[in-house]
Symmetry: C2
Subunit: 196 residues, 2 copies
């Protein structure tokens, strides 16, 4: 293991931990980068070397690499939105049970900060890219249609997550996502809780 990148990872983690704690304690706007850096025991320059902007401390996840493969695994004969729909449902089952609370917390923080709320779509740019690559045969460039479908599905997914976070006591995320994709595809809504 490289000692340099190791220390860098430690700094990253320390900064993110301090930042999220301070955001929770006193709010996002009221927390300055300098304060985060001080709490994390680094200078504010190190902060910016780890996170290009203050917002990026929150916008940071990556379940995404998996999505690309799941989309690609669907038969190419399916309509693209259906491929993304089924791939998303499949991938979600694998992580939802274990990460439900963490996901809820992160989304809640995002929604509570106007400046970040606007960037949720951008956050899903990674999902967008995953969909795009999964829909594109290997070795080819994605066409306009593929890019548009990927972007549209990522937006729809983001909307589903937002909606779920607002009603997470009455609905489960997989159900919401299922309903959203059904609507996108012009299909009737599925029965509630009809998933296995």
């Amino acid at each position: 293991m490289d000692g340099r990148t190791h220390t860098r990872q430690r700094n990253r983690a320390a900064i993110q931990e301090a930042a999220l704690r301070l955001f929770a304690e006193q709010g996002y706007e009221a927390t300055t980068v300098a304060q985060i850096a001080r709490e994390a025991g680094v200078s504010h320059m190190t902060f910016f070397r780890c996170f290009p902007t203050k917002e990026d401390v929150v916008l940071d996840d990556d379940y995404d690499p998996m999505l690309e493969e799941l989309v690609r695994a669907r038969p190419a004969a399916e309509p693209p939105v259906e491929r993304v729909h089924r791939a998303t449902m499949a991938g979600l089952g694998q992580v939802y049970e274990h990460h439900r609370e963490a996901l809820l917390g992160r989304v809640g923080l995002l929604l509570s900060i106007p400046g970040l709320r606007a960037r949720i779509g951008e956050n899903l740019a990674s999902a967008r890219t995953a969909f795009e690559r999964g829909l594109t045969p290997e070795g080819e460039e994605p066409g306009v249609e593929t890019r548009a479908v990927a972007a549209a599905c990522a937006s729809a997914l983001a909307e589903a997550v937002i909606a779920w976070s607002e009603v997470h006591e009455r609905a489960e995320l997989p159900d919401v996502i299922d309903r959203v994709f059904h609507a996108l595809r012009g299909l009737p809504a599925p029965a509630q809780g009809s998933r296995p």
Copy 2:
């Protein structure tokens, strides 16, 4: 006519004109808000009272109010994506001939500025809202499905506009939009130049 709001409109226009000219001359980052305000003959405070952020000088259009009505005019029995698709095609025909060059210039500026490129989706938040309202029966609140479809269509539309701006010598925007929406709906691609 109210003289106060009238002057305000004049300021807005003067600021936007000066800003776009300076951006074209010396680039976006190299142009300061103070400079724009000076050129427009106002103080920088007036700038911020007209445009909440520097980016909003560029992110500002408003063909959008029309879209809502066009969507609402489509029969509610149609699948929502189709309603948005046909409404967009109808609305575009009304303005594309006259505003083609202006649109191209604006989009080109957006794409040339990384900070703005990330906010294109957000710019289409206005289109999103228009779609959402048009899809929602009057007096009701939009459901998750409606919000997601509206967001997805706005993203797809943005992607179409971006793609068109990159190949505007070989393709017309209405054709690109048509292809994108066909792909979203899982339909085969329409014939090129098949519109009237």
